[in-house]
Symmetry: C2
Subunit: 248 residues, 2 copies
Amino acid sequence: MRGLPSPLVAPPPEDSPVRASPAEVDLVALLAADELSAFLRLSAAASCGPTLADVRGLARIAVDHLGRHERAVDHLAGLGVDVEEALRPWRAALDAFHRRMAPSTWGEVVVGAYVGDAVGPDVWAALAAGAPPATAALVRSVLGPRTPDAPVPDGSAPDDPVAAFAVPALARVVAADPQAPGRLSLWGRRLVGEALGQAQGVLTARPGLQELLEGPDTGPVVRAPVADTFARVTRAHVARMTRVGLTP
Amino acid sequence: MRGLPSPLVAPPPEDSPVRASPAEVDLVALLAADELSAFLRLSAAASCGPTLADVRGLARIAVDHLGRHERAVDHLAGLGVDVEEALRPWRAALDAFHRRMAPSTWGEVVVGAYVGDAVGPDVWAALAAGAPPATAALVRSVLGPRTPDAPVPDGSAPDDPVAAFAVPALARVVAADPQAPGRLSLWGRRLVGEALGQAQGVLTARPGLQELLEGPDTGPVVRAPVADTFARVTRAHVARMTRVGLTP
């Protein structure tokens, strides 16, 4: 994340009981912190839902994120990691991000849930592809069916419950306010731009994570796997925005 | 609730497809609204937890409330009730109550979760005792083991997960701030006083609910079952406050 001191977590001492590399711990801790942040953000935003169905729909999505958080945290604890310590820097950075990108309308809440459900997970899934099998499997199981190996044409996961909530919710917002699509399209572009900027900051602050994407640094050349990942995430974002009638 | 116009929900027309009395609908709708309010309030407050364990502990309690809300709503929908319509007045009244009683410290959040988890449910359980069997069974199943027929000596339910969270969380608050017990005792007294005042307002606004406690109104005499219920709720509250080292 921007402004993160590097390295935030010192490498474990020789006699560390932690049974994973620092990059694996960072990846799962980042995922766990992102899922907890999603729970807290979406459950707080649910109270702004214009109908009870909207409130409950977003609340259910929030609860799903808490379950994912708990699976990631259980995995970390099983590796001997101090969970509180491992999540602290990511929680602070995510909180700062979401304070900066706080939604001001229900439409922005819905777009945030919909876009945020995709951009971060697409990046974590790409990082997991370079991690040892146990960590890769955990990340995939936490994220569900959305993985870079199994993209679907419109960038959403099959039977995506977030899309099932967001598509009709956004249709109602747009029906009530013909100006909404323009503003929400702009909001979606801001969100994805900020999120990818944050992801870039994470990779710069944590060379171990960057190596999960592309192997060890071999010089100041353009590192294609990061660019490839960001391009793929951006294409999926464009497809998802288009699916809900917004301009990516 | 105070300031509620009465009646808020007109009696159903003769040909109403709703298969329950207005009082039963009110009782289950009030329960459903209270559980949803608890989810929204506690999940939003969880982000103030001083440790990750506190955040997760309160988040889990919030999620449990959402599950109870959904069971109550499913029951209403099964009776042919327009759920959105039935919950609307209660949601507005509960929101107003909780805005007035917004906690300003983590200790107040924990006391609110602990006291709020008991006072409302004790009143709903007492009302359910006068309802037809199907509604009574639903309310008991939503509330869990805490019923007026099965009190436990300290006023908490057996294996009460809220107490399991609140007791150590409050111990940490008190260890860090020796002034906390005095302020939190006062906060607990305010909460229970306001909650019982709200409950009294509900019974006044909804004679049908009051009849669940004591049968039809027969004149302006003191109606003992309401006073009995409030006295029992207050005794349970005193025991619960004492259990966490606060002065009731």
